[in-house]
């Protein structure tokens, strides 16, 4: 994974630490392309290609599913 992917993945994990959070929101964040908020992770998300976005999602899912099974 490249640097931007790592930044976005880390952000998604942070957002989804709580058992009440919705992973689906994370899915939408990956495609976020509005840099006006100045959020470092969202800016990185804006620079991802579609292929890179899906790679991040797969890693995010791997992390989340491991957590759900435990």
């Amino acid at each position: 994974m490249n640097e931007n992917q790592k930044i976005v993945l880390k952000y998604l994990k942070q957002l989804n630490k709580s058992e009440y959070s919705l992973p689906y929101v994370g899915l939408m964040m990956v495609d976020y392309d509005d840099n006006s908020l100045g959020n470092h992770a969202l800016n990185a998300a804006g620079d991802l290609t579609k292929k890179e976005e899906f790679e991040v999602l797969a890693e995010f899912a791997k992390w989340g599913l491991k957590d759900e099974r435990n």
């Binding site: 919705l22 689906y24 899915l27 939408m28 579609k50 790679e55 797969a58 599913l65």
Partner: protein, 199 residues
């Protein structure tokens, strides 16, 4: 891999090995990977971890159809991925089965696992496994001719034998059974006989 972890492996388990050196002087001859091919051993340090087959994602025929459409929309049009996700969320697109899977269940509590699985499927569409719905004969009377048949020409229901052909449908999914008009009789689970895979 640590010795304790290696000790837990069973015959048939797979491991991930780091290839540290490849001898390939002549591409037409045998290639030696590390000390492996002829040495018959792999140093512990080169065995990284146990290998687990990637998890499959089970989807119904309807879910898979919607998922394929979603991928097509993402790849072939100018539709934004986030817009599609929004459409599923708001129930404003053609994704009712995916929406049900992601946001609705019997307890009306969102299933986080399903949402993570959806993310896994987006990154690994090849791992999707389509589950065929189980089919049943509806055996209403204890007789060889007591099976419910749907006349495929006029969509009427009659009682006949269990043989299904291009004129009569005798094998039904539970969804199809639920849609059968039950004015004169009520079909309960007692009447259902599961169709074997090879029937």
């Amino acid at each position: 891999m640590k010795f304790d972890e290696l000790r837990d492996l069973k015959p048939g388990d797979k491991v991930v090995v780091e290839v540290q050196k490849i001898d390939q002087h002549d591409p037409n001859k045998t290639v030696n990977v590390g000390g492996w091919v002829f040495g018959g051993w792999i140093p512990n340090s080169e065995i990284l971890k146990a290998y687990h087959e990637p998890a499959k994602i089970k989807m119904t025929v309807e879910e898979k159809k919607e998922f394929d459409k979603l991928l097509e929309d993402i790849n072939n049009s100018n539709t934004d991925f986030a817009d599609i996700l929004n459409a599923i969320w708001n129930n404003s697109g053609d994704y009712s089965d995916l929406r049900k899977r992601l946001f609705v269940n019997a307890n009306l509590i969102v299933d986080r696992k399903n949402q993570f699985e959806f993310a896994w499927a987006l990154g690994n569409p090849d791992l999707i496994e389509v589950i065929k719905p189980k089919k049943y004969y509806v055996h209403l009377f204890t007789s060889e001719c007591g099976y419910l048949n749907k006349d495929l020409e006029d969509n009427h229901y009659i009682l006949r034998g269990k043989h299904q052909n291009s004129y009569y449908q005798t094998q039904f999914t539970k969804d199809e059974i639920a849609k059968i008009p039950q004015d004169a009789l009520k079909i309960t689970d007692k009447a259902l006989e599961e169709v074997e895979e090879d029937e």
